[in-house]
């Protein structure tokens, strides 16, 4: 299939990342299309998590970690001189492997904590954002009666959707997801997957998953990483039916290693 006409929302150029001496991401260049789900797959330790953590500059928060290269978000290099990673992270949200609502905060506060700590105090604004974000995360109906219960009192799947709502509350154009369903049961996983497909109308999603079938089910593009290298990147339908690279073929058919 042809490359889409729409320009990429995220353009990664020659991205390298290190943990101390170990070279975790090696010279990766890739263009991520807007309003689509891009899945990043690969065996454990292939650098896929490190790769997406570079996209919101969270990677550098780990001691001894370093990165070089360019990540261009709608025309701006987030690794450019004088760019504040804090501002970048408001535009590129993230959901983590384990559901991690903030302890001691209510459902309500969990959703708007980003806004509150950024100085937005107007109750009406916050209430609106809570409702919008929870609806976007398909959680509103389940929690609208207990907005003031602790976030940690929800079930695992609900907690993860709460985390998605929390990330969406600051209205980021891009949402990164680092194995968001690996700690959830199949039903909760199915709900999150459905949510992802729904969300891509509004946000661009980059999802790391160790579950190839999940990548196949929900993504439009798939990137296959191996030992820090980007081996293949293309339409999910072609990557999973006629991969261009022998190594991709071996991995997705389970003949690896």
């Amino acid at each position: 299939m042809n490359e889409p006409a729409t320009p990429p929302i995220l353009q990664v150029k020659n991205l390298n990342a290190w943990f101390g001496e170990s070279h975790a991401v090696k010279d990766v260049s890739v263009s991520i299309p807007p309003n689509a789900v891009t899945a990043v797959i690969g065996p454990s330790g292939c650098g896929k998590s490190t790769f997406i953590r570079c996209l919101n500059r969270l990677h550098e928060e780990v001691p001894s970690a370093g990165a070089s290269g360019e990540v261009i978000l709608s025309g701006m290099n987030i690794y450019g001189d004088g760019v504040d990673p804090v501002g970048i992270r408001r535009k590129i949200g993230m959901v983590f492997q384990k559901p991690n609502p903030f302890p001691a905060l209510s459902v309500f506060d969990n959703v708007v904590v980003g806004l509150k700590l950024a100085g937005i105090r107007r109750r009406s604004v916050l209430t609106d954002v809570v409702e919008r974000s929870l609806k976007q995360a398909a959680l509103w109906e389940e929690v609208k009666e207990k907005l003031h219960a602790p976030g940690t009192s929800l079930s695992g799947g609900q907690q993860q959707r709460l985390c998605i709502a929390r990330a969406l509350a600051v209205d980021p154009p891009v949402l990164l997801m680092d194995e968001p369903t690996s700690a959830l049961d199949p039903i909760a996983t199915a709900k999150i997957e459905e949510l992802i497909l729904d969300l891509k109308k509004q946000v661009t999603i980059v999802i790391v998953t160790h579950n190839m079938q999940q990548a196949a089910r929900i993504s439009d593009r798939t990137a296959f990483f191996l030992m820090g290298e980007l081996v293949e990147f293309g339409e999910t339908s072609s990557v999973f039916t006629v991969p261009k690279e022998e190594r991709t073929e071996r991995y997705i058919t389970g003949k690896f290693g």
Binding site: K191, L197, R217, F240, T241
Partner: protein, 228 residues
């Protein structure tokens, strides 16, 4: 019940296959009409339809491969997709046979000599009904209707035997009938093959709907009315 991503894909596939089936039905009708009404225009129509069906054939295959590769279908979904792959093949073969009939008819019509065979009209009616019913059964996932199609196949086979022996008789009687006789035998043979593919589809519909494999088993293929 949560809505599933695979549902969109399945209904698209279903839609594609229905479109294709519609073309095939039309193709079979055009081919038989061409012979019956001595209509050369219908023959050209059959060729046009075949090209459309070939296009569908590839699209349906691609859709099935995508669904299998990306959605990990299970149980009813899996049976449906596997049946689609088989039905797709049968439909494509059916339209090829319709093209054969159109060819035979073209030769037949170029020759002014005529052999009168009553049963060929009835046979083509029967095959057309089979095609229509089996596609109906597929659309509605109607197991009962599919079983009825199975029983029609025996009648089609009987017609064919009758036509072949009639034609052979004519050909023996007057060797100048041989060419036309052969054309009619080919038409009957191709019609019978179309019926066989309709039967295959009926078996796949039964499998997709119930999970029961009725192929190669006389006791299982009986229509419900007889089995009861």
């Amino acid at each position: 019940m949560i809505s599933r991503n695979i549902d969109t894909g399945l209904s698209n596939l279903n839609q594609k296959l229905l479109t294709m089936a519609g073309h095939v039905e039309q193709g079979v009708e055009c081919a038989t009409d061409a012979w019956r009404f001595r209509n050369m225009v219908k023959i050209q129509e059959v060729y046009a339809i075949e090209r459309r069906v070939n296009q569908c054939h590839m699209e349906v295959d691609a859709a099935c491969v995508q669904l299998l590769a990306l959605q990990q279908p299970m149980a009813a979904d899996l049976r449906f997709i596997v049946s689609c792959i088989k039905i797709n093949n049968d439909l494509e073969r059916m339209v090829d046979l319709a093209v054969n009939i159109a060819n035979n008819t073209e030769f037949y019509l170029q020759n002014p000599q005529a052999i009168h065979v009553d049963d060929l009209s009835q046979m083509s009616d029967e095959v057309r009904v089979m095609v229509r019913e089996v596609l109906d059964a597929f659309v509605k996932a109607d197991e009962r209707l599919a079983r009825r199609v199975l029983s029609r196949d025996d009648r089609v086979d009987a017609y064919k035997r009758k036509i072949v022996s009639d034609c052979l008789g004519e050909m023996k009687r007057d060797p100048s009938n041989i060419e036309q006789g052969m054309n009619l035998i080919f038409i009957a043979k191709n019609l019978e093959r179309i019926g066989d593919h309709a039967t295959n589809i009926a078996e796949d519909v039964i499998f997709s709907a119930s999970g029961q494999d009725v192929r190669h088993s006389e006791s299982l293929r009986k229509p419900p009315s007889e089995a009861e």
